[in-house]
Symmetry: C2
Subunit: 178 residues, 2 copies
Amino acid sequence: MRKDLITDTAIQLVAEQGMRGLTHRAVDRRAGLPEGSTSAYFRTRKALVEGFVERLAAQERIDTALDPADVVGSIARTLDSWLVERNRTLARYAAMLEATHHPELRSILVHSPREQATALAKALGHENPERSGAHFTAFLEGLLFYRLVGGGSTTGPAPGTEESVADLRDAVEKALRP
Amino acid sequence: MRKDLITDTAIQLVAEQGMRGLTHRAVDRRAGLPEGSTSAYFRTRKALVEGFVERLAAQERIDTALDPADVVGSIARTLDSWLVERNRTLARYAAMLEATHHPELRSILVHSPREQATALAKALGHENPERSGAHFTAFLEGLLFYRLVGGGSTTGPAPGTEESVADLRDAVEKALRP
DNA sequence: TAGATTCCTCTACACCTGTAGAGGAGGATG
DNA sequence: CATCCTCCTCTACAGGTGTAGAGGAATCTA
């Protein structure tokens, strides 16, 4: 479907050049479409941004399974897969920053496994599951950000390797201790 | 100094409208300067971006003291102050994302208290201070991001309040446990 | 005081961007 | 077959943007 090609290309562009690189014509060129195509599907830039954010959310909704037998391991692997899907995750950060001044985007981006985290904290016997869940979520968010764009992007183990998963597993395990 | 006025205004603009809002003329207008001023000081856009990132780094270099009698507390207070300085911190995130595709910026943005964190982990008797330090840094980064632009921006306690500092203190304390 | 230097303002211009609408190709429907 | 509708391409245009240079005002130097 042409619309998906356009939004996928938009995600790519945003990841590589930031929001500033996202223009109707840039998408056309990058996707090899005739000039005007993107503008026909998304008449305004706002629509284009919302379109690409929606696509992002749809793509992420897929991987949310969690193996109860190895909670720590499956979280670590999920995180690592997000590091591997570098562009998608970078685009998501750009979108979140954008949501700061365009609140409509926030509703699309929810994605937050907050309740999951709270439930997890409760199951593990934390005394204040609400708070522990929030902190845990924050920690995951931070781990991701740190490894992808922060200091860890130059020093950490390469995403997709066993070493990377082990490092993440270690961190997650520690964060889940009551 | 005119240059500082320009870069400060640039920081403000980036925080409020994202990188896309940062143009020579927008800075002129916002700062009440005659058209062309910003362009005279920073001939290219690249120069303007580097200028504002440098200013950002200079402003942050100030607050790095750390009271050894109350490590947790001073970290928590520092974090909270970054939440209060919302615009500056938002601009920093925008800059970090930008550094992803403009490596020159990374060297300006170092700021990383990584060594500090490692030393701290060592002092607290963590078995692998390198790794613990990195995780701790990641955790702080995440706490900040989560509270400022992530899920916690809508649900967390208001920055600048005692409640906010207490929440952060709790999180930091937990993160520092061996 | 005369000249040099620095700092600033103004203006120009090629190019990019957002947005809109006219119209064509081709399939579906009657 | 004629008609309609959908999907697509092309073109237009009013701004905005990056970048450069000419020239003036103010300050410094001798």
